[in-house]
Symmetry: C2
Subunit: 346 residues, 2 copies
Amino acid sequence: MTSAAGVPGSPPAGRAKLADVAALAGVSVGTASKALSGAGRMRPETRQRVLDAVEALGFRPNQHAQSLHTGRSWTVGLMTTDGIGRFSTPVLLGAEDALGAGKISVLLCDTRGDAIREQHHLRNLMDRRVDGIIVTGRRTDPRPPLTGITGLESVPVVYALSPSTDAADTSVVTDDRGGAQLAVEHLLSTGRTRVAHVTGPEHHAAARDRARHAVGHLCAAGLSPSTGRVHFGEWSEAWGRRAADAVLRTAPDTDAFFCGNDQIARGVTDALRERGVSVPEDIAVIGYDNWDTMALASRPPLTTIDMNLAEIGRVAALQLLRAIDDADATPGVHTVPCRLVVREST
Amino acid sequence: MTSAAGVPGSPPAGRAKLADVAALAGVSVGTASKALSGAGRMRPETRQRVLDAVEALGFRPNQHAQSLHTGRSWTVGLMTTDGIGRFSTPVLLGAEDALGAGKISVLLCDTRGDAIREQHHLRNLMDRRVDGIIVTGRRTDPRPPLTGITGLESVPVVYALSPSTDAADTSVVTDDRGGAQLAVEHLLSTGRTRVAHVTGPEHHAAARDRARHAVGHLCAAGLSPSTGRVHFGEWSEAWGRRAADAVLRTAPDTDAFFCGNDQIARGVTDALRERGVSVPEDIAVIGYDNWDTMALASRPPLTTIDMNLAEIGRVAALQLLRAIDDADATPGVHTVPCRLVVREST
């Protein structure tokens, strides 16, 4: 099975070479090459003869040879700083979907958030003359732009989910403002007015931003958080359970919980059920992420906000393709809207 | 930012070309090329002069040019049939880790389990002359080998997690027999003798194999499942809750649950807690997968079996590198052992 692979230079068995195509078409190898690359002028009949020969022989051009004369490698680097992948995986698959549909291939690099690995991968991507790079990570906090590699300035880079700190770069991010608004407005529309907000660590942008916008939208409706403040903690069910107890002690008239992620929301619903509080009759609960494992296993299943992570990946890929073609590339921050997923918890 | 990328053929700014190296070393471009590829004979001093010039100019060879004369692309295709990625992601990252450490890059292809996408990606990988392909999926059920593309027979392929149905292929799989044995022996070692096995759908190999081996190890110890049979169902918490109730109705003296995955185990612990049965004092519960979100959020945290998925990816990558180098490649099935992770549920 590995025989041919062991012999440098030998093409895989059964592959027609450009010379075979040229011979069959009755033209020179140079003409055949021009006909395929679309470069240079030639009579349409000639080009057609070459294309017919390609068809007849099932010839597939060697990408490496093509790359040398088009100056394009038709590859894009996809760098993730996320070893775990719960957030970057859908972004990555969305990008792969948008790129892989065409002839562009995706070079995967996982930096594990390690600067040395990032440099190693970047150097490798530059050696391969990638047409562009998409950088994604697990958090929504801005990250410093890629740097430190010669020639990088001439390669388009798009940051997905984790935006670049450089406003001149192209970043595709989630809409935490819109997500918080969808959640708050949904709760208000179901007649809730005493809303508690329980979320993750205050040093995470995702927690700070969602909290700020949640409070903002409550104020716009003439309300404020049921306990007068936001409850920052961890992205965990255990924190959700502790926070639910704390909130009901200080503000027993709370009629809704807006949680910063689905794990916290699940912890809240468990704590409420175990206190004999029924969801959504007595208290409504809404989560964030639409992480099916959490949202669907929760009792009752969670109403939640979906960030459309795969769409963030797709938009990042399309922005990168624009930048590569130099056609109406639009640097700056692009925001992908969230959507409300209504289930039984509200 | 995208200017140079828009001009075909123009190398990224600030890059030294081979001609610059040759000029500085005072040799021909051909000699410089030979010095770098290690091909052909030349005086050591000459080769050294070229290497010094490379050093001085920070020259990095163009991989595409190199590929044309070495016949190797130094790229490997990584195909996943898993759009969700909970199982294939760690395998994929393990492989990327093993390959990316060297100069080999990973081309990511997600087929979404779609035959047409698989053919499209395969054709693309062949056009890029990948040195080899790793195929991974979400399930442990055997899959038909890659096929239908000219030249594929000369490219080494390794199947990870989802083995090939062709015994002559190289597959790296998890050790369900060993995993079931670890679980059962751990329960017996803690004095449990009336063990119930609750698992996923019988048409999944992972459910069937773990069940068969669990029963086998119980019999070897002179025991049998507490209810006399295996409980096949879904890979869900809801099934775990329902199954726990059913088991305790028919076999109230059950003193341990071995669950086919962590979601089922979490459902079982929830059902037991809500019946006032204490885990592990009254009944021990052990899961499978060591999926931290499930195992750690469970009350109490779950003892479970870890399949070492990243290691499966690493071993697959090493097997592929062997096959590419044609050095002691060993086709057939390679099994990666599981490990027992003890927490509070046993």
